[in-house]
Symmetry: C2
């Protein structure tokens, strides 16, 4: 787990700001849930491997010595959402669209862009089975990435029921579907042979595994229309055909959005989590092995808490991976690396500290509706040392009040970039700095 | 622990936004640390009662069955900061001023404005012993409260070494100072007699306790100057006298800031945490028993991690209590309760869903640099039902495209507040809505 020093936080805040802004434009509302959930709420929702990665919290008080855990750190933002919907159903609208940007915790082995504490940025829509939900979420996530400067992302799209129909058609017993999906999820990250070997290792008949992989590889055409047509030709069972129709609808709808041209039908996309029931998607870029975002429809999960059928679909953006790729590609706008203050108020002697606090207060009020960020040097060091400190921190201006300025109620404003200095009244100093800042950075 | 539904999150974001804005103006930079710290980092920093309230996390993997804990949820933001400063010293400036707005966790009994997961909003300054640090932090916290609309807050100010000198003067053995401070901390919240009884229960001689309380009550004068003078007359040991000089300096400096008139010297203020070494402060309002903020100087804590003397001082704002009082007093500006979207795009039939997504995309781009927040009704329900849905959610506008509008490339924009409707081109629709929004809400 990592500390985020100021420069890190500013980059994170920039990306989170873009994400929240785009999601708000799509009509999603913010939700926050506690870091800690009941252990029972989380267990059994993330598959066998997920269960092992949950951080468990010791019971408090007299039970502490028992070593038992009753609470846990949340593993994702989807299961907590399902719990919230079940718990607050009456207070929520018929169609509840929420976004949520919060950390989750997994006792995983760290890797590039993978950490034990990491932020997810989720959009989910509760209450509708319409494919506009999938299309809007694909559009919203695509718009986030486009706004951040990604042009080369691909949204891989598939459907859990299509996958099941394909597995079924290959003669794989239903009891082995889960194993096959876990193995298949790695196709695209590893070679087909490795996937076949993985399936074999999980006890799947080698001939079936090979045939299965063949089907997935053969089905993919040049265009989404080609792929759809190939799959339609496979004589799938009824729910597989219905899944293909849903995929066709999502593809057609996304063509009306900013995601147009970015979506690719990929029948081998599996997604690891066990709660998906319909369309699934994953967004990636060529220079990252993992995905920047993933999601899908999970119509049964909320019902597990509520005992009532509530359709749901969501996409989760992986903040950490987005940040890793943006850093590697140098995608942050220069303004994100802002200095700690616009101006440093220097201090001539201990006796003037109070007056310097008053000057700082005046400068902070700014001018014409624009405030200034003002630091005060805390100790009466040599002025040269104080100016050097300002420069070393990238603070562009310094305010100096010597004997002469004090007696006239003035202040000398030194532009540490240009090197020149302007003496003006205290009321005009903020205006002068703001004008210069506007001229150089806007 | 609580879920925050959208209306809650917007109120929280509003307050956090004001806090971050003010702290940035004072030259504080953002820092974030992980929720989870090594258990050893936290143990022994919060006094005996604090230790018991730390949430502990089970060791992972093969050691899980042992029931041992090696990690813990952070208890405050100060100890993690001390660890960060020790760990990243070389990367940090000589004077490191950071703000941090993150949740902390305590296995405490919940009460009004007290929760097991709650946010702290801390400012701390590392690296200077100057009293400008205390004065600026008192000013920054005061400016936050003033900007939020609090006019009646009081900053109680005291000094740990003054307290020690007063306890010492009363003849209390040093071994009992900690007990006396814990009891004294409740003065102001409970009656003096209850504090004396509490001290007696902790094994402090009743006569000493009574004399001690007398000193504290007698010392408080009408004005801060009176109180200072009373205390100066008590013939304290040298470090008590030095503490009084520091308090005098802080009082004089805060007179040059927005905190002027809000600061009150209170020699009985103790603060529960064990790491304070100098000035301590607590900010309160008459209608809340607890405090809205608290802090102080802790010059030894970072040294515990670093083995090197690093002065430090900080103030922590309690977000939850601020929110409780603001809700009770009705202090939130109306704009904080924003609807989930500015406009709802309605859907006439399933065949027009794609076109409606395209219309939504156009409206989201907005006009003249202002974007619109746009929701799309996901299903082709009756239009009346869709308009009712928009109204029930407080969405002020609905966009309708029937046969006639579609054939002319137009859209009907219905103002659900005024009740009228305007048919215009798709390019002008955003402009029309934005003009109306500006006219009614700015």
């Amino acid at each position: 787990m990592r500390d985020f020093l100021p420069a890190d936080v500013r980059r994170r805040q920039y990306v989170i700001g873009v994400i929240a802004d785009v999601y708000e434009r799509y009509g999603f509302e913010p939700l926050e849930t506690p870091a800690v959930e009941n252990l029972d709420t989380l267990l059994g929702k993330y598959g066998e491997e997920g269960n092992k990665l949950i951080f468990k919290i010791l019971k408090r008080g007299e039970h502490e010595a028992s070593g038992e855990a009753d609470l846990a750190l949340r593993y994702d933002l989807t299961v907590p959402l399902a719990r919230v919907v079940a718990e607050h159903r009456a207070k929520l609208p018929r169609f509840f669209k929420r976004y949520q940007v919060q950390p989750v915790w997994r006792a995983d082995r760290p890797a590039r862009g993978r950490f034990r504490e990491f932020y997810q940025c989720d959009v989910d829509a509760i209450g509708s089975r319409s494919m506009t939900v999938e299309a809007e979420q694909i559009a919203a996530a695509s718009e986030v990435l486009a706004r951040l400067g990604f042009a080369d992302f691909t949204v891989r799209l598939n459907h859990r029921r299509l996958l099941t129909a394909l597995l079924d058609r290959s003669g794989l017993p239903e009891a082995q579907h889960g194993l096959a999906l876990t193995a298949l999820d790695k196709l695209g990250k590893v070679k087909p042979d490795a996937v076949i070997a993985d399936m074999a290792a999980r006890g799947i008949d080698a001939a079936t595994a090979t045939a299965l992989l063949g089907t997935f590889v053969d089905a993919v055409g040049e265009t989404n229309t080609d792929t759809l047509r190939q799959l339609e030709g496979l004589a799938l069972r009824a729910d597989g055909v219905a899944a293909l129709q849903e995929l066709g609808a999502i593809l057609a709808l996304t063509d009306s959005t900013v995601a147009a041209g970015h979506v690719r039908l990929d029948p081998s996309l599996a997604r690891g989590l066990s709660y998906y029931t319909g369309a699934i998607m994953e967004i990636g870029v060529p220079d990252l092995a993992g995905s920047l975002a993933g999601g899908g429809r999970y119509d049964d999960l909320i019902g597990m808490f509520l005992g009532e059928d509530v359709p749901a679909c969501g996409i989760s953006l992986g903040l950490e991976r987005i940040l890793v790729v943006m850093a590697e590609r140098g995608m942050f706008p220069p303004a994100v690396a802002r200095p700690p203050a616009d101006v440093l108020v220097t201090v001539f002697d201990a006796g003037s500290l109070g007056d310097m606090l008053a000057l700082a207060a005046r400068l902070r009020r700014g001018s014409e509706g624009r405030a200034l960020r003002v630091d005060v040097y805390p100790e009466p060091d040599r002025i040269g040392k104080q100016l050097k400190y300002a420069a070393s921190r990238g603070i562009p201006f310094a305010a100096l009040v010597g004997e002469a300025e004090r007696s006239r109620g003035e202040v000398a404003v030194k532009d540490l970039t240009a090197g020149d200095q302007q003496v003006c009244s205290r009321d005009l100093a903020a205006r002068f700095i703001i004008d210069r800042l506007r001229a150089t950075r806007g």
